[in-house]
């Protein structure tokens, strides 16, 4: 009997002890836990994907960065002079900027960075490509040369992919740099527990305003219910990527929820294949689909209809018009085009964007209702999807577009320039020499009012030509704990900043 009692007592003691360990997590207001949906393989700034940009913002400094209005403003640059011919940018750097390893952020370091990216095969290269040469004029002065005037350079250099690396660390670490990065942002990289989290701590030598939190831990939690539970239990402070349903549940559980702009969802139409090579058919497709009903019923209200190829967060983005739901007009246009029986192939992703598969099904339903026999192909595997689309055998396929630079040049270049026809992301083979000319003019025009006019013209012309089935811009939701005092959400990127932005 005595022995049994002893066992019970020790079991209880053990349980109490373990409960103590579990409970003893003093959540300091200075330490913030951010929940991301997936881990990324590397923190190299030249990589893209998932929520990587959010971590990049916090660790990496840049020559320019975005202010609250998403304008690219000087960050590491103390002053800039652009030459008469607009092709030489002379940048004077802040005198006190240091990398996390203590080495100075000087002109040599800038040259090293730009040369590194231009020599690299990665997605960041396109941002630096307009730069033809970099010259070190003084320890704190560097000159960037471009072939043509390129006003969007500031925006490109403010992109999360334009983060600056410490030359010393890159040289020392080589391939390992991506898993233990050294830069000059407000938070420095501390550690990475594979599969679990990335730890960062406030960098006291930061040249800008002191970062508000002592530590930020980015934790990977793929399951949406788990992210919700963690916020309800106050075990985390910021959680991203909730759908409208979860947002309601969180609010019901008294968790603060903020809206955050998402990406523009569109369906690219194929100019190479009948019947979508006919303008009237493309317009008919746009009239046939009830975007508002899809937003209300499939997205549960988490979106706004898109009215231009350039979203409003981007320089020059403004509505060009709206193809309202009008099945009669769609049928009339199809009749006019002589399309009596057509088979369409619709490709949609599954579980990449919110309810994307259901949206694809809904669109097919609307198209069938106006007499377009639509086959739906849903693919959950992104690499396979891109491969399949690349073969060109589609009538329409879904794609999303976000603005990481706040400048329209990259968007229109990638989606509409004829040099990209049949390739990513102009698989629909949109070719129009006039649009090419306008795109090139827009890229090289410095004067703001002229540039606005050019992008206005591009948007109107493209809208009328209906290269897409225009769908919607999504609204995302993020949950915040009471500990979050400083947070900035811009109109463009889908991620918040946990430090103060330059003015």
């Amino acid at each position: 009997m005595a022995r049994r009692e002893w066992t019970w007592t020790s079991a209880l003691a053990l349980a109490g002890f373990t409960a103590l360990i579990a409970g003893a997590q003093p959540a300091s207001a200075q330490n913030i836990k951010v929940l991301l949906t997936s881990e990324f393989p590397t923190l190299d700034p030249s990589e893209t994907g998932g929520e990587l940009p959010m971590v990049l913002y916090h660790i990496y400094c840049r020559l320019y960065s975005f202010n609250d209005k998403m304008e690219a403003v000087s960050d590491l640059v103390a002053s800039e002079t652009v030459s008469e011919d607009q092709k030489t940018w002379t940048l004077k750097l802040r005198p006190n900027a240091k990398f996390h390893d203590g080495t100075p952020v000087d002109a040599e370091a800038i040259k090293f960075n730009i040369d590194r990216v231009l020599a690299q095969k990665g997605s960041a290269r396109i941002l630096f490509q307009p730069i033809t040469d970099v010259k070190v004029l003084a320890p704190d002065t560097v000159a960037l040369m471009t072939k043509e005037p390129y006003p969007a350079l500031r925006n490109n250099l403010a992109s999360p992919n334009a983060g600056l690396v410490s030359p010393k660390a890159v040289t020392a670490l080589g391939d390992r740099f991506g898993v233990q990065p050294v830069s000059c942002g407000p938070y420095s990289f501390a550690s990475w527990t594979r599969g679990t989290s990335i730890q960062t701590s406030r960098f006291d030598g930061f040249y800008g305003p002191k970062a508000p939190y002592a530590q930020i831990s980015f934790q990977f939690v793929p399951d949406v219910s788990t992210r919700m539970f963690l916020m309800q239990r106050k075990e985390a402070d910021v959680a991203l990527r909730f759908g409208p349903q979860e947002a309601k549940e969180l609010q019901a559980a008294k968790v603060k929820v903020n809206e955050i702009n998402g990406r523009t969802i569109l369906y690219q139409l194929n100019y190479k294949l009948a019947p979508t090579n006919d303008l009237r058919v493309r317009q008919a497709i746009n009239y046939a689909v009830d975007k508002e009903a899809i937003i209300k019923n499939v997205l549960l209200g988490s979106g706004t209809p898109s009215k231009s190829v350039i979203a409003s967060d981007t320089f020059g983005g403004r509505p060009s018009g709206y193809y309202e739901y009008n099945p009669e007009k769609a049928k009339a246009l199809l009749k006019e085009a002589g399309v009596t029986s057509a088979k369409l192939k619709l490709y949609a992703t599954q579980n990449r964007y919110y309810n994307d598969g259901l949206v694809g099904q809904a669109i097919a339903g609307y198209l069938r209702a106006v007499g377009l026999d639509t086959e739906v192909i849903l693919m959950g595997d992104w690499a396979g999807y891109v491969d399949r689309i690349g073969k060109g055998d589609f009538s329409l396929y879904t794609l999303s577009w976000g603005s990481s630079t706040g400048d329209p040049d990259r968007i229109v270049q990638a989606l509409f320039h004829s040099s990209r026809a049949g390739q990513t992301w102009n698989f629909g083979s949109f070719i129009d020499k006039n649009i090419d000319k306008l795109i090139e003019e827009g890229a090289a025009t410095v004067e703001t009012s002229k540039r606005l006019a050019i992008y206005g013209e591009i948007q109107d012309k493209l809208f009328a030509d209906a290269p897409w089935l225009f769908m919607y811009r999504t609204t995302g939701y993020m949950a915040l704990s009471d500990k979050i005092t400083t947070i900035h959400t811009l109109e463009g990127p889908e991620f918040p900043y946990l430090f103060d932005l330059p003015k």
Binding site: G122, F229, L230, R233, A383, G384
Partner: protein, 306 residues
């Protein structure tokens, strides 16, 4: 014993060779390749071509496989295409977590399953037996992601006894391991029950009882020992099944295991990572079988003779 181990080791190598070949070829038959994924949205065809050369994907598949084997023979499984870190390092950082999770689940399932199985066999046809059989049936049909979510709701969200997710405290493993339990317990309990019933009908059990041995010693020492052989084999199979089946649980609990990494690597076409993880699984499967055989040999010397 030595000869037994040598033969087993030779068979292990052959299995691994076969597994690596299948994985290698199947990955490359999948549409899409790592160069396209890595190059991203703004890739020009030249960038993609350069990347393909960099990863050696431009060479004929036979040459690629030859080079892979040559490196693998020296213990180098290559670099992850996406993280640029050695595959061995990436796997080593995650595999122990998966093994810990599956191991704990199997150990607990083994203990509970055997207990329930013996009770059911002894009380054959009585209410205890029926109850256990019904519970086992529910257990087999309970998907682990569903059990996991229920456990989180009850013990983490409502009661706050355990962490919701992650791997921060010693208690973090409890809920994910518990959500893996029901099917394993059910399988082990049912198997134990039926083999126990067979054994309890054997002559030697009757003889032992007739000689005056106590009921409990007959049950636990004579009968169970003989009933255990198929159960131990089943435990090995369960462990292997759990290794593959933990992906859903790892996702729900944000558990830093190898399952989630495998899925991510497949979707980004990180060939070396997928190959490394599958190979690691193959090694563990084979080793588990070896351990099962050795344990069965200890339980019943007749097994060793074969």
């Amino acid at each position: 014993m030595q000869r037994f181990l040598v033969i087993r080791f030779g068979r292990l190598l052959l299995t691994l060779l076969f597994v690596s070949l299948i994985t290698f070829v199947m990955l490359r038959l999948m549409p899409g390749d790592p160069a396209t994924v890595l190059a991203g949205e703004d890739a020009t065809p030249e960038v993609i071509r350069d990347l393909r050369i960099k990863f050696g994907l431009d060479k004929p598949i036979v040459v690629q496989y030859g080079l892979y084997l040559e490196k693998a023979a020296t213990g180098d499984l290559g670099q992850s295409i996406r993280s640029r870190s050695p595959v061995i390092e990436e796997v080593a950082a995650r595999l122990p977590n998966t093994l810990r999770l599956a191991g704990l689940a199997v150990a607990v399932a083994f203990a509970i399953g055997i207990l329930l199985g013996v009770v059911a066999a002894v009380r054959e046809g009585k209410w205890q037996d029926v109850t256990i059989l019904v519970i086992a049936m529910i257990g087999t049909s309970a998907p682990s992601f569903w059990v996991g979510l229920l456990l989180v709701l009850a013990f983490a969200v409502q009661l706050g006894l355990f962490p919701v997710a992650g791997n921060d405290s010693a208690l973090s493993i409890v809920l994910p391991a518990a959500s893996l339990l029901p099917p394993s317990i059910a399988v082990i309990a049912r198997l134990t029950r039926s083999t126990m019933l067979d054994v309890l009908g054997e002559d030697y059990v009757r003889t032992a009882l007739a000689k005056g041995a106590s009921r409990s010693s007959v049950l636990w020492r004579h009968a169970l020992r003989n009933a255990l052989i198929p159960v131990v084999t089943m435990v090995g199979l369960e462990f292997a099944r759990l290794l593959g089946g933990v992906i859903a649980v790892e996702t729900i609990f944000a558990w830093p295991g190898v399952g989630k990494a495998l899925v991510d690597s497949i979707s980004t076409r990180d060939y070396p990572m997928v190959q490394g993880i599958v190979l690691a699984f193959a090694v563990i499967f084979a080793l588990t079988n070896l351990v099962v055989d050795i344990v069965n040999g200890v339980i019943d010397p007749r097994v060793r003779a074969h």
